[in-house]
Amino acid sequence: MNQETILAPQVLLAEVTHRCPLQCPYCSNPTELIKKNVELPTADWKRVFREAADLGVLQVSISGGEPAARRDLIDLIGAAREADLYVNLITSGIGITKDRLDDLIHAGCDHIQLSLQDVDPDGAKLISNLDQSLERKLEFARWVVDTDVPLTVNAVMHRLNLDRLPETIDLAVKIGARRLEIANVQYHGWASLNKHVLMPTQEQSDRTNQLVQDAREALKGKLMIDFVPVDHYAEFPKSCMNGWGRVALIVAPDGSVLPCHNATTLAHLSFPNVVDQSLETIWYSSEAFNAYRGDAWMPAICQSCDRKEIDFGGCRCQALAILGDANAADPVCSRAHPHALIRDEQLKHESALPDKIVYRPNA
């Protein structure tokens, strides 16, 4: 792909740390967590935000781990806002006092997204492996709603809490969230180690789709609902990251730049670092970002498919993980894989009994 046909990025995910007080077994961080001693210092993040804005990025999501684990979070938010980015803070709410929240907002935080593990306190404890996590989150949510900053609740759903989806939607309304993301677990990284516990049943998945549709209709104008269905039950692949190197880039805590959360599982690619190169060079010219742009890399069945401009070939990490070939058609795709590989894979887990949960460590 030549440089003229590469679109400028719109979204930066700044994973400022992998440290987190929670230990959710579906964490989107890689299973190899990046340590505190190699995290980028404040000055480098400030430069990343400026370079991103110059490159065309409009929104930054400051995320983790738990971003509040960084003592310089207020400076980071201030720098992102100063670069005129729209600043989303993606947080567990744990470790942010009311005073610190006020300072974060004063520094320029535009929107807060709060993760929710479960509306049931025991369920929340089971997933987060942290006592009182639900109670502390609800207190944080109240503080946010008392300010003028919009609150999104991000409810991650799986076999253990999907039956409480109606209560989850009710809670989002009750606490005054503007948006609710109902996000089924994506089975990569930590989540793939916990498929045996988390993978919902087909019946749960079907019920969820109907419930979400009804709730959207009933709550129109009151609560916006975004929905990520269970990937494994879909007919077609999701448009992973809206296409590889098309819209978004992720900067990991150590400064490495990734096209998606799990890209490091693609061991044949090496990922550039903001310490060595500008974001511009990385976005337009690096081998890693060009690897799955366009359609030249696609198998013939995808190249001739009318959906290639919709899903951009789907998920490369899933192709590698399940089919052993990062260039293969996404295993979810029913056109490329009429024998429903992924359903077999899924049913295996659905029938397995939940046993021990593999938690991610705090650091």
Partner: protein, 94 residues
């Protein structure tokens, strides 16, 4: 789906957390909000630039008519429809 238009005496305001921004790289104006990016055309930009939290829809129509040398009656419906759609999308509130 038919939607009731907001009244011309309504005062549209930006919903909290919504920003109108000039996107210099792509030479356009955009609305930014929670997980939201709305690209505006020239008309949309002109209308959104007039939202100041004091002016009614009728005031905005009047100013746009003057600025673009058109008859207010000819654009009133379009401005109301645009503002209504922005309220539906939680960009504006009244």
């Amino acid at each position: 789906m038919s939607v009731e238009l907001i009244s011309t005496s309504a005062i549209p305001r930006f919903e909290s957390g919504i920003r109108l921004k000039h996107d210099a790289v792509r030479e356009r104006h955009v609305l930014l909000g929670p997980e939201m990016l709305i690209e505006l055309n020239q008309t949309g930009t002109a209308i959104m630039s007039e939202i100041d939290g004091h002016s009614t829809v009728a005031d905005i129509v009047g100013r746009l008519a003057e600025r673009f040398k058109v008859d207010a009656q000819d654009i009133s419906q379009d401005v109301s429809e645009f503002c209504t759609s922005m309220v539906m999308r939680q960009v504006l509130r009244i």
